[in-house]
Symmetry: C2
Amino acid sequence: MAGRLKFFGWGREGEGMTAEEERSALARYARLFPSAELTELPAPKPEDIVLPESRLRIPQALAPICTTDHYERLVHTYGKSLPDTIRGLARDFRNAPDAVAFPRDEAEVAAVLDWAGEASAAVSPFGAGSSVVGGVEPVRGPRHKAAISLDLRHLDKVLEVDQSSRAARIQGGVFGPHLEAQLKPHGLTLRHFPQSFEYSTLGGWIATRSGGHFATLYTHIDDFVENLTVVTPAGRLETRRLPGDGAGPAPERMFIGSEGTLGVITQAWMRLQDRPRFRAGGAVRFTDLYAAARAVRALTQSGIFPSNCRVLDPGEALSNGAGDGSFAVLVLAFESGDHPVDAWMARARECVADHGGTFEGEAGAEGHRAGAAEQWRTAFIRMPYGRERMLPRGIIFDTLETAITWDKFEAFHAKVAAATAEAIKRATGRPGLVTCRFTHAYPDGPAPYFSFHALGRHGQLMEQWQAIKDAASDALIAAGGTITHHHAVGRDHRRWYDRQRPDLFAAAMQAAKQTLDPKGVLNPGVLFDA
Amino acid sequence: MAGRLKFFGWGREGEGMTAEEERSALARYARLFPSAELTELPAPKPEDIVLPESRLRIPQALAPICTTDHYERLVHTYGKSLPDTIRGLARDFRNAPDAVAFPRDEAEVAAVLDWAGEASAAVSPFGAGSSVVGGVEPVRGPRHKAAISLDLRHLDKVLEVDQSSRAARIQGGVFGPHLEAQLKPHGLTLRHFPQSFEYSTLGGWIATRSGGHFATLYTHIDDFVENLTVVTPAGRLETRRLPGDGAGPAPERMFIGSEGTLGVITQAWMRLQDRPRFRAGGAVRFTDLYAAARAVRALTQSGIFPSNCRVLDPGEALSNGAGDGSFAVLVLAFESGDHPVDAWMARARECVADHGGTFEGEAGAEGHRAGAAEQWRTAFIRMPYGRERMLPRGIIFDTLETAITWDKFEAFHAKVAAATAEAIKRATGRPGLVTCRFTHAYPDGPAPYFSFHALGRHGQLMEQWQAIKDAASDALIAAGGTITHHHAVGRDHRRWYDRQRPDLFAAAMQAAKQTLDPKGVLNPGVLFDA
């Protein structure tokens, strides 16, 4: 488990798809793309790759925490997006950082930022490198001579636990599992489990407005942030730790979602939960996505706040082994560390029945771990390992996540799905598959998550992917959605973010950035022009 | 009901304390300040007051929407704070606006801002004028030649209702009752009922992060804002209407709490609620505040989200007619437009019993309207009418609201209460009364609300009040609280806000303001230096 992070693919060295998972995925693609020949290109090895020489000389004072090691530069070149994987497969690591810094405390973070300012180097905070939107790539802007990747893995401690307020002061570089392991002896949990849980950090979650475990109510990490400490090029900033506040615009909110462009999140007091003791749930079948959506609308507007409330359309259910393609599935669960959830579940049953849903088997305390619900959960966690095995065979599999109000949902879904399907056919010359699920849901609308599968051609994968991505993104922005509900903007979503973000807000934030990062070292191209 | 707004005192002309309410208040003060002579000064009349001549000539194009009328200038000089009332009583209206503008649409708001920029005039958005923190007074900064009060009362429509998403597009100048009246035919409600509900506006609530009806979960208006339209001196800005979003820092959050310093909130899509059909609740007695606080902590951490969960300490219960001074009271209620709340109430009973609370009489569906609960509710709504009748008798009655995490609460409460009580004795030469209630509560801490009563001396009221306010505010900032949980910063809280706000955040926001309001016309002195 303590293997090195892979420089190509998901997770750590030695991990990956099982032979059975791979066989099953290939069988699905064989049905989807009959008579296709899947030519598999070999995965890159570190020694295959020639890196440009580092443009930086590490100052003596920073030598203990900085490296130009070949493997570290490779690991810190990319996140885990499809274009990252395409470039990795092509052995294209020309954007490798000139150095990787591993500060051990806030003073060392500040020292790295100072050095970057002096050396005209760009700094990209790395988190755990699982960005799927081009958020961690050490891109240099026109005024940067070099690029540094900033890895906070040594800031991995829970520093303080306040049991009575159910909160903890936690360093920004801690990975999900290590965070939960440190909270467990206190009987507490953050319960923030994005799909990237094992390979993402608290600071990364906050910087990207990560979406987590709870499908309703506490959807994003945002609401769990009690205070923040941020090291900016202009100095260190700490907000007051408060349960609620009304004094001016919330200072935390400027940094939540700032994606490494305004400062480095070094620690945060986080609101925690008791570990759940009571559960109920199950999987519910509906004739189609829209019927399930009507049930979800009723559930979100009822005020009962299910912890899980995820819809899979028929195709998505099939892909995840949670259905045969003839029905949609709602994975529903309640949990509490405080009280039995029977009354909540009883009301949910009524909402579901009102909209024509039928439970698979017996819903109950273990319903969240049975049948389609468990199938979905396993598939969800294992899914990211697929990309590094399927892309080398020319399979383009990617996702788009968004949010839209209920009044627009059906038309929105139809337009985005159609635009994506058409673009697949246009770009690759043959039909693909577009499916949809809901990751989160609100009283005023769902967060639809589209998956698409296309068979590309080696040598053209990037252009094909980009054509599909552009068409889908154009459609969802035109139809009123957001370019990202929880994956973040990064560099890949920037063009549509600019269409969505009010110009005057962009100008105001740019002025704020100029104050906090006067030399513009932080993550050029993300949110702001380089 | 359509009387003019009072220029001195709460509400509209013809409204005020009943004779019975006045007698009862005076009886309480007679017990608190035995043998005191209460000399009553006469309330000011409009014709008593000589205003400085207006420094502005209204441009012809704006003549239909601007006035220099004597009464309008008086009404728009002050909010409803204690220092406002002291100055009103002293016939001191030297800060009267040079003109009052009543734009009828966004173009006219922009035209007023343009005029202000050209005329070097400051602009203070007025809302409905019920600020208790000096937020609406038309203060001129050193670079301003004149001051304009901006009154949005004509922007009072619900423009669009989206029943399926339970949301409505609403203009910023609408008063609370007129807003609810427009929503009622749709079966919907915002359910945002601050104490100032009748005399405050949607735009004012958003600009000040108003705290409302719900004691837990949806405490501030913040979470109900789906999008915002803001007219700034640099132009108009509209955020995308979304149920949830993860694209960069939330643009709405820059303007929520901006207190009229960045722009004028002209409309917002707001998330609404179904009208409640199911209720349960009651009043619970505890031996003291800290015992009640332990029950509230359990309730907030249980995930059952009572709509009312307000604690009155023994003195506060006595002041509000909800107790005899020997016990604390928890006013507890659940409500739902969707389902019976019995299971929720059952769990609340257990939390309450675990911490030694006993229900007054029969708790139940009408419990929220019985006994101490109803007493408190009536007193709460009628309270603001007291100031204009008691201050002319030398009674200094004011409130301080804050929030603090549970780990610090008891020490915090003791320090703030002691500092306030000592300051009363020092400033006025005799003891007063300091009481505390909780207005809102969170899993990680309560929002304590302190009331203080002192007997001042005419001619010294301002100095006496300021000495008490300073001591209390110093104590609460030193002990880790916020200078305001929901009353806003205004000018009265600015000194402590500066201690609480991180300097770098202040600098970043100042840069943002410079972009949106390059001539600095908007509300000088509020949040930023004039």
